[in-house]
Structure formats: structure tokens, C-alpha cells
């Protein structure tokens, strides 16, 4: 998406360092994320791509020993600033995890969870509508519309993951972070999710961490390559995959290590 021919930058991170205790996990990350595009973060295990993703909605706060330095600017606002309200931030930036983690509640309650805590629905009808649109957007509505009040944990793995995506979009976030959303799924469920991601980028900015380079190539417009806590190279997916500047990137993409 372009506005006046200029790509809109949604998230702008400057000099981000992350420490786990004394160990530094991320070194001086500068990465801009374009609006309404899919950005893939790739790299070998332990390279810090998930850590960076978790910086974007301050999920690293949950980990006691984790410290984040640097600026992450979303909508002209530094989320690492003390005045940042984490609850509002996470309302705007949803997240989907590696393993499907539906709450042990009904499908309906799983979706209505976010809107309820953010007071987004004034009436039962409104809530019904939110649940329906979220499930439709997540391409799950047809499969579950007759059993909304059955437990969400009873769905298949792929359905559970789409339920989690529906849950994330129920609060209409501007950005959706996905942490290896397909790594626990079979190829068919993966294909469904990928299709869904493509659909979702119309309304949301998506950042996806993935181990599968094929997946990164399929779904993303931009790619960032992480290695040992550093952002080695980033740019359009086409360029990274066809014509990488850095030798490490090339080695990784051609499968020479990782």
C-alpha cells in the first residue's frame, strides 16, 4: 500500500538492545516495518527473531530478567516510554503464538475475551457481531458456527490456530505479530493460515517469525534476516531471496547453515 507514492512506516525501531540477565540477546536492531504489508523475520534458532517480535508488544515484560533498551516507535509514540499503557498497546498490537493456545473456554468466549476486557461491545448483539466477523475473517466461521458454545480446546490444531487468529483480530488491532504460527500444524492447515495471512494484510500490518524460508517467500513482502542477535539484512522479500547483499544471508537462504 502506498500513500502518495511513499510507503508508510508503521513501526520504526531504533538501536534496540535486549538482555536476558547478563546475556545480550539482541544487538542494535534498526528495522522499519511497512504498513499493511507482511514482514517475515527469518534466521536460525536462537537468533533473536522471536525476542524482537516480543519487544513490539512488550511481551518481554512478562519475563523477569529481560531488559529492553532503545526506541520502538509506533504511531509516533515510543512504546518503551514509561508513559506507555501496555494494555492499550496490546489492544493495538495482537499476537498469535507458536502453539495454538485457546483458553479452556467455549469458542464464543475465546473470541469475546478481548472485546470484553477492552469494553468494546455495549450489548449482546454487538458482541455476537464481533464474534461472527472475527471468525469470518479468520475463515473459521463456516466450520464452527453451529458449535460456538463448545470448548475451543476441542478443535483440531489448525482450527485452534485460526481461533487464536480470530481472537487476536477481535479487538481490531493495527498490527498482528505471529510467532511461527504454523510450526505445529500440518501442510494443509499451514496453507489455510498462509492464505489467511494474505487476506489479513488488507486491514492489518503483519509481522511473522518463521523457520520456513518457503513460507517467508510465499507470504511476505519484506524480510529481515537475523543471525546471532543481529539484524544482518533486511529489504523486500524478492531482493533478499534473489539477490542478497550479505554472504551470510545467501548462505542461510541456500541452506548452507541454520
Amino acid at each position: 500500500m502506498k500513500k502518495n507514492g511513499v510507503k508508510m512506516i508503521k513501526i520504526n525501531s531504533k538501536n534496540v538492545d535486549v538482555f536476558y540477565g547478563k546475556k545480550q540477546a539482541l544487538f542494535n536492531i534498526n528495522l522499519d516495518i511497512e504498513e499493511n504489508q507482511v514482514t517475515a523475520l527469518i534466521g536460525p534458532s536462537g537468533c533473536g527473531k522471536s525476542t524482537f517480535l516480543r519487544c513490539l508488544n512488550r511481551m518481554n515484560d512478562v519475563i523477569d530478567i529481560c531488559r529492553v533498551k532503545g526506541q520502538i516507535i509506533i504511531n509516533d509514540f515510543d512504546i518503551n516510554d514509561k508513559s506507555c499503557d501496555v494494555v492499550r498497546l496490546r489492544e493495538k498490537i495482537g499476537m498469535v503464538f507458536q502453539k495454538p493456545n485457546p483458553f479452556p473456554k467455549t469458542i464464543y468466549e475465546n473470541i469475546s475475551y478481548g472485546p470484553t476486557i477492552h469494553g468494546m461491545a455495549q450489548s449482546k448483539n454487538e458482541m455476537d457481531e464481533i464474534v461472527e466477523t472475527s471468525l469470518k475473517k479468520a475463515a473459521l466461521w463456516e466450520e464452527v458456527k453451529d458449535r460456538l458454545h463448545e470448548p475451543g480446546t476441542g478443535l483440531s490444531g489448525g482450527q485452534q490456530q485460526r481461533l487464536c487468529i480470530a481472537r487476536a483480530i477481535s479487538v481490531k488491532p493495527e498490527v498482528i505479530l505471529m510467532d511461527e504460527p504454523c510450526s505445529a500444524l500440518d501442510p494443509i492447515a499451514t496453507a489455510q493460515i498462509e492464505e489467511l495471512i494474505d487476506e489479513l494484510k488488507k486491514d492489518h500490518t503483519i509481522i511473522i517469525v518463521t523457520h520456513s524460508m518457503a513460507q517467508a517467500a510465499r507470504v511476505s513482502q519484506n524480510t529481515g534476516f537475523f543471525h546471532l542477535g543481529e539484524l544482518i539484512e533486511h529489504g523486500s522479500t524478492d531482493k533478499i531471496f534473489k539477490n542478497p547483499e550479505n554472504k551470510k544471508t545467501q548462505d542461510y537462504i541456500t541452506g548452507r547453515f541454520g
Binding site: M59, V87, R88, R90, E91, F97, N101, I117, C164
Partner: protein, 457 residues
């Protein structure tokens, strides 16, 4: 003698192993490690000795008695008289006989002593010879290709099996003794009176002289268990009112809010509460809490008995706190982190996450821990005996004294008691009903906990 056999066992172990080494040194492959040959021999030493000893212990007295009484067999004594003579003989031989000593009995006593000494020495000889024979047999049997590992393993299995069998049989035995006494009790007291009677006054049964004939009508309105059941559940209820909120909240704090360091110290500290003997809680309740409540009540113009259900229940609640807090801490900690992450990522605060996600997910486990707490409360004895009084009032006033099943069992069984008396049997009936109640609670609790476990594995 016993020590000697043990020594013999060790020696045979040593010999067995040595023979195995000798076989090994002649370049033959053994079928088992040398130790097994040693164990094999030691078992061959111990088992025959054990069998002979037990057979001897069973049959020796009978045989001796037969031999002694054979002297009197054709003099026309009755069985009872013969028994008496035998007892006199035994007493005399121990030098404890105080009655008139007849020459007959003196002769028998001498015979008894000589028989005993013959028996002792023959026992020693027989046991030793059998041990030596069996060890020698086993020793000869050992060769490079004889099987020693399997018999040894089988023996160990048999020993372990016997141990577990003993535990199970004891339980079954206890249950059966409860059942039979309870049935006897209900032969005298109708079940209906016991379950629905509202008057519990077992002291009435003290009045009866045991030589009098049993008259069931005398006990009508004596063993009505309603007041003590009510008291039991009432005190348990008070205890849970204290234990559930405090235990649960401290469990949630420990699992969700406390830093690693606080948790490291706080959890063992709370668990120390569980290690305090209930007697200590008991006198804490009786001597500190009870009078304190009475004073407060009096200053407010309430009539509070020094031994009140409130004091007992409250202290009992404190006793149960560690169970609930530590169990609910465990179940909350075992709720997967991914659920927490999911909730936080939706922008939920910590308390929202706990209330809406973690608590419902952990609820079955928490219910299980509460039920276990309740069954502790119902089975608790010492605190109630010391702090809540022994009068079985049927009341719902927490400031009055009430009594519980366990306390009544204590009252009934302290001091002299006669078997076959309805008063004593009442204790068994109470014990039986208590057992049934806690059994049901435990079964329900364990099932709930199990169901919860399945969910996340």
C-alpha cells in the same frame, strides 16, 4: 540363635560367591554375576530356617501340652480341669505359682521343664542340620551353567509382594472389624434411631451394670447421631470458611505474583504450618483463642462459651490453610504459560488474566484440593476434643460448644470399656460413618484432580 543364622547366611553368601569365582577362574562363563550365586546360597540358608522356626512356634506348645496331659488322660478329668492343670504346671515351672502345690503338679512341672529344654535343643539341632543340608545341596548344585539369577529375582519379587499384601490386608482387616462391630451395634440400636435421632447422650450407657441383661429400650434416645454429624459438618464448615479464602489467595499470590525469591522462602514457611502437630493447634485453640473469643464476646455483651465451635473451627481452618495454599499453588503453576501469554497479548491485566483464564483452568484442581481439605477437617480430632467441648449440642450458634464424630469416639473409648457393649460399639458405628464420608470425599477429590491432569498432558 537368630544372630547365628544371620551369620550363617553371610557365610553362605561368601561361599557361594567364592565358588562362582573359582568357576570363573577355570575360564568358564557364568550365567550370572558372582553375587547372584552368593545370594542364591544365602536364600537357601534363610528360607528353610524361617519355615522350621515358624512351624516350631506353631506346634511346640500343642505337642508339649499333649505330652503333659497324657499323664492325666485316664483319670477322668474334664477338659476345663485339664486346661487348669496345664496352666498351673506352666506357672509352677516359672516359679510364679502361688496356690497349693500337689506332688502331681510338681512332677508335671518338672516334666514340662525337661520337655521344653529338649524342645529347645532339638530345635537348634534340627534347624542347623537342615540349614547345612540345604546349603550343601545348593552349593553342590551351583555350577557354571546353573540358573541362580532367576530364583534370586523371584525371591525378591515374592518379598516385595508380601510387603504390599501386608499393607492391603491390614486395611481390609480394619474395615472388616469396623463393619462387624457396626453390625452388632445396629442389632441393638435401630439404624433409624442412629441416623435420625437428635439426642446423643452416651453417658447414659455408663450407668448400666454389665452383669445386667441388655435391654435395647433403655438406649432409645441415647445414640441419635444427628447432633454430632451436624457438629462435625458445622465445624468443618467454619474451618473451610477460614481456610478457603486465605489458602486460595496465598496460593494465587505464591504462584502468580511472588518473585522467585519470595516464593523460595514463603512456600516452605507456609508448609511449616502443616508440620505443626495438631495437639499444639489444639491447646492454642483451647487456651488462647477460646478465652480470647470469650472475652471479646463478653465485652460486646454476647454469651460466649470458652469452648466454642468458632474457636475450634477457626484454628482448624488455620491448620488447613497450608494444604489448600500449597495444592492450589501447584495447580496454578501447572497451568501452561501459553495461556497466560495469550491473555496478556490480548491486553489483559494480571488480575484479569488470573480471574478469567487461570482460575477457570485451574478450577478442577482447586476443587480437588478443597475437598481434600474438607476431609482433613472432618477427620480432625485433637483440636475439637480440646477446644470445642464434648457436649453434643444440636446448634448452629458458632459461639456455643458442639461436638464432632471424632471427639465423641475419643470420649467413648477413653478409660474402661467393655467389648460387646453398645457404648463401645457406638464408637465403631461412628468410625464407620466417618470412614465412609471421608472415603467418598477422597474418591471425588482424586477423580477431579485426575480429570484435570488429563487435560494438559
Amino acid at each position: 540363635m537368630f544372630i547365628f543364622i544371620v551369620l550363617l547366611g553371610f557365610t553362605s553368601y561368601y561361599f557361594g560367591r567364592r565358588k562362582a569365582y573359582t568357576i570363573q577362574s577355570t575360564n568358564k562363563r557364568l550365567t550370572a554375576l558372582p553375587q547372584f550365586y552368593g545370594y542364591y546360597l544365602a536364600i537357601w540358608c534363610a528360607i528353610p530356617a524361617f519355615i522350621i522356626f515358624s512351624l516350631w512356634a506353631i506346634f511346640e506348645p500343642t505337642i508339649v501340652k499333649l505330652l503333659i496331659l497324657s499323664d492325666y488322660s485316664n483319670q477322668g478329668y474334664l477338659d476345663d480341669e485339664l486346661n487348669l492343670i496345664y496352666e498351673k504346671t506352666k506357672a509352677l515351672s516359672r516359679g510364679q505359682f502361688t496356690g497349693e502345690i500337689t506332688p502331681f503338679i510338681e512332677a508335671s512341672a518338672e516334666k514340662y521343664l525337661s520337655l521344653r529344654s529338649i524342645a529347645q535343643s532339638s530345635k537348634a539341632v534340627i534347624v542347623l542340620s537342615i540349614i547345612i543340608a540345604s546349603v550343601a545341596y545348593a552349593y553342590k548344585k551351583i555350577s557354571s551353567n546353573s540358573r541362580t539369577r532367576e530364583p534370586v529375582e523371584k525371591f525378591l519379587k515374592a518379598v516385595l509382594f508380601t510387603a504390599s499384601l501386608a499393607a492391603i490386608l491390614t486395611t481390609v482387616g480394619i474395615v472388616f472389624s469396623l463393619i462387624f462391630q457396626t453390625i452388632d451395634f445396629f442389632k441393638v440400636i435401630p439404624l433409624f434411631d442412629f441416623v435420625f435421632g437428635t439426642h446423643w447422650y452416651p453417658a447414659k450407657a455408663f450407668v448400666r451394670d454389665s452383669s445386667e441383661a441388655l435391654d435395647p429400650t433403655m438406649y432409645s434416645d441415647t445414640f441419635g447421631a444427628v447432633p454430632i454429624f451436624a457438629g462435625t459438618f458445622f465445624i468443618a464448615f467454619i474451618a473451610m470458611c477460614v481456610a478457603i479464602p486465605i489458602g486460595l489467595m496465598s496460593g494465587i499470590y505464591l504462584a502468580e505474583y511472588a518473585s522467585v525469591k519470595v516464593r523460595q522462602y514463603a512456600k516452605p514457611l507456609i508448609e511449616i504450618l502443616a508440620g505443626i502437630p495438631t495437639v499444639v493447634y489444639g491447646f492454642f485453640a483451647a487456651l488462647t483463642v477460646g478465652p480470647f473469643l470469650k472475652e471479646i464476646g463478653n465485652s460486646m455483651g454476647l454469651d460466649v462459651s470458652a469452648e466454642s465451635a468458632l474457636a475450634a473451627g477457626g484454628v482448624m481452618g488455620i491448620m488447613i490453610i497450608p494444604f489448600i495454599s500449597s495444592l492450589s499453588d501447584d495447580v496454578i503453576t501447572s497451568v501452561p504459560q501459553s495461556l497466560r501469554d495469550g491473555s496478556y497479548a490480548m491486553g489483559a491485566t494480571k488480575s484479569e488474566t488470573i480471574k478469567k483464564v487461570i482460575f477457570p483452568a485451574a478450577l478442577p484442581g482447586i476443587v480437588g484440593s478443597i475437598l481434600l481439605g474438607v476431609s482433613r477437617a472432618i477427620g480432625e480430632t485433637m483440636i475439637v476434643v480440646m477446644a470445642s467441648g464434648l457436649a453434643a449440642n444440636l446448634t448452629l450458634n458458632p459461639l456455643e460448644s458442639t461436638s464432632t464424630i471424632t471427639a465423641q469416639i475419643v470420649v467413648i473409648l477413653i478409660g474402661d470399656q467393655a467389648f460387646g457393649d453398645p457404648k463401645t460399639q457406638a464408637a465403631f458405628a461412628l468410625g464407620m460413618s466417618l470412614f465412609l464420608v471421608t472415603l467418598c470425599l477422597n474418591i471425588v477429590a482424586l477423580r477431579v484432580v485426575k480429570k484435570y491432569r488429563e487435560k494438559y498432558e
